[in-house]
Symmetry: C2
Subunit: 329 residues, 2 copies
């Protein structure tokens, strides 16, 4: 114990005169606050021989109002309130799923990419570094869909390939839609920038992009599952080893606290809201019945858990149950 | 990118001859796995001007069988299963709550203390270091009760005071019970070691231990609340600043996934199971009605959230809803 440390003492009357002297020469306010920083945003668990790491890319805040297209604001706020989320402002988190087995290192979607340091999103690279994950070692980038928050991270700060050694695997349906300018007028106005952004973000990977169908093995142990609606080719992925499995749900839901209890709610980012809702109910029913562990791109960090059936407000829906956090991987 | 990194490439046919050469001289299996370590176990949030930090002290595993005294094993397993927890083995986590404001740094309970490195518990000091919390700067240790996993950390590896500059604040009822050898025969057999352990763990703090009643301000902003039953003087604490508040629930519940849906269940560590159950229902009702944020000693890390009313299996109980994790403190 140093004299400096003793400066913070209270109840010094119980202590020796040295401590009292220290207190006199060093006011209590000299004690610095403990840091205001959070622990790095990554979390690991095992699926058979796969090591899954979820890596946080930060969040953005938007108004609750206007987010759900087909529900009254008060109803949306009531559902958020049941999960103790604020009524006015919605924090939409981004968390990327990595899967590693032997020499294979897969990343599912690539985050918001390089953002100004003051942004609350764009934290993936810092958290990858904390997690010991080197982008140069990624062997496969597997994309769920082509919205900007999922593909912008394909480019690094120099607008070159952020994953210089990876093969890029994309859903063929998604690739076809956003690479045909003839579809632009058939797309919701808010999604039209996705055409140019797709061209730009994939450009450095020309010659090593592989299109896959739904229901096929993308690489050994990882299978694509069609989950169309949120975008024309939105695809989720099953990661399996022996009897163990999990599913990366991508944007099957936005925040599950909001959308699992009301699967029919449609959000402003849905390309085809009706199809997205039908897909959501079908897939949530499947993962609930199978009790399969899932990760989700907009789930609350560490963004992994299960779904259970749940009735609220008279609606038969689902509830997200975060998996137990363990200090042992 | 170094040659070493290129050693892990697959799909090298898409790349230049240098990469192919590197692949030939360095097998893919040379790629190391990403680390199997977890991020440090600490989490921060604000309660008015208080910075709250929860710090993980690891966990221990015990059989599910024999943990709940007054319920059938199958019923216990069904409740655990509803939260996707295993049916055979229960991981009991330990997470310590710190509260810092200006020069005041409080720790609520002190963890399992120094344990063998191979133990899954006793990780508090490492996680405190990661969180930037120096035990020598703690100004107040406030104890909920005197079970070993809550007071063993009062001693460091040299059996001296682990918090050398702190005042120790204890519930007077708890202090009186475990410091009167005449109570030993009136205590459950499993709890009798607590008498000797209490004497040993508090010994280095003689002269700076302050006993407090329930319902009083321990220090400005922190108020004691009687929650007797789990031990004779088990006490919880409200931490407030202006209109903001939270409550440290200590061992009001063990794992809330198990005990919130069935508040009447009594566990093997309860001193007076009936009193513990009555206290549990009363306090859970209070924090649910008030929608107050809580921390709990055996809650799933990061061990903070809220309670909601919840009916399951025909029983009107409660459900723990973890607070949203945010990278912004």
């Amino acid at each position: 114990m140093t004299i400096e440390r003793r400066g913070a003492l209270i109840g010094a009357g119980l202590l020796g005169s040295a401590a009292i002297a220290a207190k006199l020469i060093r006011p209590a306010t000299a004690q610095p606050a403990i840091p205001a920083t959070q622990a790095p945003g990554f979390y690991r668990f095992k699926v058979g021989a796969w090591t899954i790491t979820t890596v946080h890319d930060g969040f953005f805040r938007r108004p609750v109002e206007g987010f759900v297209r087909n529900a009254a604001l008060a109803d949306v706020q009531a559902v958020l309130g049941a999960s103790f989320l604020p009524a006015d402002s919605l924090a939409v988190p981004f968390t990327i799923t990595f899967a590693q087995k032997d020499a294979t290192l897969v990343v599912f979607d690539t985050g918001n990419g390089v953002t100004p340091a003051t942004n609350t999103n764009g934290k993936m690279l810092a958290n990858m570094a904390a997690a010991g994950i080197d982008a140069a070692r990624v062997t496969h980038v597997i994309q769920s869909h082509f919205h900007g928050d999922h593909i912008n991270g394909l480019l690094n700060a120099q607008n070159a390939a952020a994953f210089p050694n990876a093969e890029i695997i994309v859903p063929a349906v998604e690739w076809a839609w956003w690479n045909d300018a003839g579809n632009e007028q058939r797309s919701p106005e808010g999604q039209r920038p996705t055409f140019a952004n797709t061209a730009r973000r994939f450009a450095p990977y020309a010659g090593r992009i592989r299109q896959i169908a739904a229901g096929v093995e993308a690489i050994p142990g990882i299978t694509s599952i069609a989950a169309y609606g949120h975008t024309p080719g939105h695809t989720i992925y099953r990661i399996a080893d022996g009897a163990e499995q999990m599913i990366f749900l991508a944007d099957l839901t936005n925040r599950p606290e909001l959308m699992a209890p009301r699967p029919e709610w449609q959000i402003v980012f849905d390309f085809d809201g009706d199809a997205a809702a039908a897909t959501r109910r079908r897939v949530l029913d499947m993962v609930t019945t199978d009790r399969v562990r899932v990760t989700g791109y907009h789930f609350p960090f560490p963004a992994n858990g299960h779904f259970a059936r749940h009735v609220s407000g008279g609606v038969q829906g689902f509830m997200f149950v975060p998996a137990d956090w363990s200090s042992a991987v």
